[in-house]
C-alpha cells in the first residue's frame, strides 16, 4: 500500500480568500457570517449566511471556460490554483502525468433555476446559452476543473450531502493508497446564493439569532439554535509518498485514516452509533489509539440535536474531557458540501502553525458538551495528529485522520 501525503492546499472561504488570510482569521477567531437582506425579502426564515465575493476570473480564464463555471466552480478554481501552486505542479507537469480529480459538490441550484426561468419566459430552450448545462450538473466542478487543468486521471464528483468534501478526500486517499493513481486533486465546493438554500431553511434548521450575526453560529453552546449556511471551496493535492519524493515536493502532512459509515436510520435525525463506527474505523485504519489524537475538528454545525449526538459519539470513543475539540463552523458557518475538505485545510493550517483555533461563541455547555474539552480561545499547541468529522443527510458519516509530516515519519 502506498503512503498518501498532502503537497498542496488552497482555500477560498468567508474567513479568507487564501491560506494566509484564513490562518489569521482562525487564529483570531474571526467570523465570516453576515445578515443578507435579500434572503429575508425572498421569504427565508433566517437571513444569516457566510459571505465571500465571487472572484473576477476575466484575464485568468478565457470566455469559454468562464461561461461553463457556476459560482462554486469559480471558488473551486481559485482554491485549486492556490493548491497546485503550493504543490509545485504546473501545466507542463500535469500534461505529462495522470493527475486525477475527486471533488465534493451536491447542488448547483442557481444555474438550474435561472435556466428554467428563461425557458418558461421565452419558450425556447436554446436561449439558456451554451454554458448552462455544464453549470447545472452536480459534477460541474470536476467537469470544469478537469477541462481547465487538462487532467487525465480519475475524474468524478462525490455527492454525499454535508460529508461530500470529506468523502472526496477519503476516496482520493484510497485511489492513491491502492496504487490506482499517483496524484489526485481533492476538495469540496459550495454555492452561496439565496436561491440555493431556501428548502434547507424550510426545515427550520438555520439559526435566527439575526440581531448579532457573528454570534449566531455557536456549536456545542447551550443556547445554539441552528446552523448558518456558508460556502466557498477548498482543495487538497494528494499524492503518493513516492511521487512527492521523486518530485522533491514539500510534504505538508500525511493522510493516515479514513472512516465511514451510514446511520441506517432517519434521513435527517442524527445518531450516536453511526459516527462512533466512522470514528473507530478511521482510528483502526490509522493504527492509532484514541489517546494519540491531538485535536478533533468537530462536524458540529450549531444544531441542537446534531451537536449533542456528536458530543456523545466523541465521548464514547475518546472518553470525557480528553482531546481538545473545536468546531471551526463557529466562524465559517456550515460550508456544507465543501466543509469536509475545508476543515482539513483549517486543521492543516493549525498543525503547521502550532495552534488550535477556537470554538467561538461557546459560552455555556449543555449536558453533552460539558463532557468535551472544547477550546474557547486560540491556544498554542503542537499538533501531531488531528481528526476531522463530517456527517450528512441520509446518515452518511466520514472521519479523516491526518498526521504532521516530519523526517521521523519516513
Amino acid at each position: 500500500m502506498n503512503r498518501v501525503v498532502i503537497t498542496g492546499m488552497g482555500i477560498y472561504s468567508c474567513i479568507g480568500k487564501n491560506r494566509d488570510e484564513v490562518r489569521d482569521s482562525l487564529y483570531h477567531g474571526r467570523s465570516g457570517i453576515v445578515l443578507d437582506p435579500a434572503r429575508k425579502e425572498f421569504g427565508y426564515r433566517s437571513g444569516l449566511t457566510g459571505f465571500v465575493e465571487r472572484p473576477n476570473l476575466k484575464g485568468l480564464l478565457d470566455r469559454r471556460a468562464r461561461i461553463m463555471l457556476p459560482e462554486q466552480g469559480e471558488y473551486a478554481y481559485m482554491a485549486t490554483m492556490e493548491a497546485l501552486k503550493q504543490a509545485g505542479m504546473d501545466a507542463d507537469y500535469i500534461s505529462r502525468q495522470e493527475v486525477g480529480i475527486l471533488y465534493g459538490n451536491d447542488s448547483s441550484a442557481k444555474p438550474v433555476i435561472e435556466a428554467i426561468d428563461i425557458i418558461r419566459q421565452k419558450k425556447d430552450t436554446m436561449l439558456v446559452g451554451s454554458g448552462s448545462v455544464f453549470q447545472t450538473m452536480n459534477s460541474t466542478v470536476t467537469m470544469n476543473l478537469a477541462t481547465i487543468f487538462k487532467l487525465k486521471g480519475v475524474n468524478f464528483t462525490i455527492s454525499a450531502a454535508c460529508a461530500s468534501g470529506s468523502h472526496a478526500v477519503g476516496l482520493g486517499y484510497h485511489f492513491i493508497r491502492t496504487g490506482l493513481q499517483d496524484c489526485v486533486i481533492t476538495g469540496g465546493a459550495q454555492e452561496i446564493n439565496y436561491l440555493s438554500m431556501g428548502n434547507f431553511d424550510a426545515l427550520s434548521a438555520f439559526s435566527v439569532h439575526e440581531s448579532d450575526p457573528q454570534k449566531a453560529s455557536r456549536p456545542f453552546d447551550r443556547d445554539r439554535d441552528g446552523l448558518i449556511p456558508s460556502g466557498g471551496a477548498a482543495t487538497l493535492v494528494l499524492e503518493s509518498l513516492d511521487s512527492a519524493r521523486e518530485r522533491g515536493a514539500v510534504i505538508l502532512g500525511e493522510v493516515i485514516g479514513y472512516g465511514f459509515s451510514s446511520n441506517g436510520e432517519h434521513i435527517s435525525n442524527p445518531t450516536v452509533d453511526g459516527p462512533v463506527r466512522s470514528l473507530r474505523r478511521a482510528l483502526q485504519g490509522a493504527g492509532l489509539q484514541p489517546g494519540e489524537v491531538d485535536y478533533i475538528n468537530a462536524h458540529a454545525t450549531s444544531t441542537p440535536a446534531g451537536d449533542a449526538s456528536e458530543a456523545r459519539a466523541i465521548c464514547e470513543v475518546f472518553g470525557e474531557q480528553t482531546i481538545p475539540v473545536s468546531s471551526t463552523k463557529s466562524m465559517t458557518g456550515h460550508e456544507c458540501w465543501m466543509a469536509g475538505a475545508s476543515e482539513i485545510v483549517y486543521s492543516m493550517l493549525m498543525m503547521e502553525h502550532d495552534f488550535i483555533a477556537p470554538n467561538i461563541n461557546f459560552e455555556n455547555p449543555d449536558e453533552d458538551s460539558a463532557k468535551l474539552n472544547i477550546v474557547k480561545t486560540s491556544i498554542t499547541r503542537n499538533i501531531n495528529v488531528f481528526l476531522s468529522n463530517s456527517f450528512g443527510f441520509g446518515g452518511t458519516n466520514s472521519s479523516l485522520i491526518v498526521r504532521k509530516w516530519n523526517k521521523q515519519t519516513l
Binding site: 470566455r63 436554446m126 446559452g129 451554451s130
Partner: protein, 86 residues
C-alpha cells in the same frame, strides 16, 4: 426601418463584448468564424445575443449561408427590417 450603420455598430459592439474579440480584427470581408474563433457551442451563444439585442430567433441552419462579417450584417439587417415591416 433602422439605419444600416446603426445596426452594424450594435452588432460589432455585442460581438466584442460577448466573444472578447479585438475590435480591430472585425471587418466586412473577414471570416466570422475564424475571427470570433467560434466552435459549435459558440453558435448557441450567438443565437442568444442576437435574440437579446434584436428580439428575433435565429435558426441554427441560417448560419450555413454566413461566412463573412458582411454576410452576418446583411442577414441581421434583413431580419430586422423584415420584422419592422411585419
Amino acid at each position: 426601418m433602422k439605419e444600416k450603420d446603426e445596426i452594424i455598430g450594435k452588432i460589432n459592439e455585442f460581438l466584442v463584448e460577448e466573444f472578447e474579440v479585438d475590435a480591430a480584427k472585425i471587418s466586412p470581408p473577414a471570416n466570422l468564424r475564424a475571427v470570433l474563433e467560434l466552435d459549435s457551442l459558440d453558435y448557441i451563444d450567438l443565437v442568444v445575443v442576437i435574440e437579446n439585442n434584436f428580439s428575433f430567433k435565429v435558426k441554427p441552419e441560417d448560419f450555413a449561408n454566413i461566412s463573412t462579417f458582411q454576410d452576418f450584417y446583411d442577414y441581421i439587417i434583413s431580419r430586422v427590417n423584415a420584422k419592422a415591416l411585419a
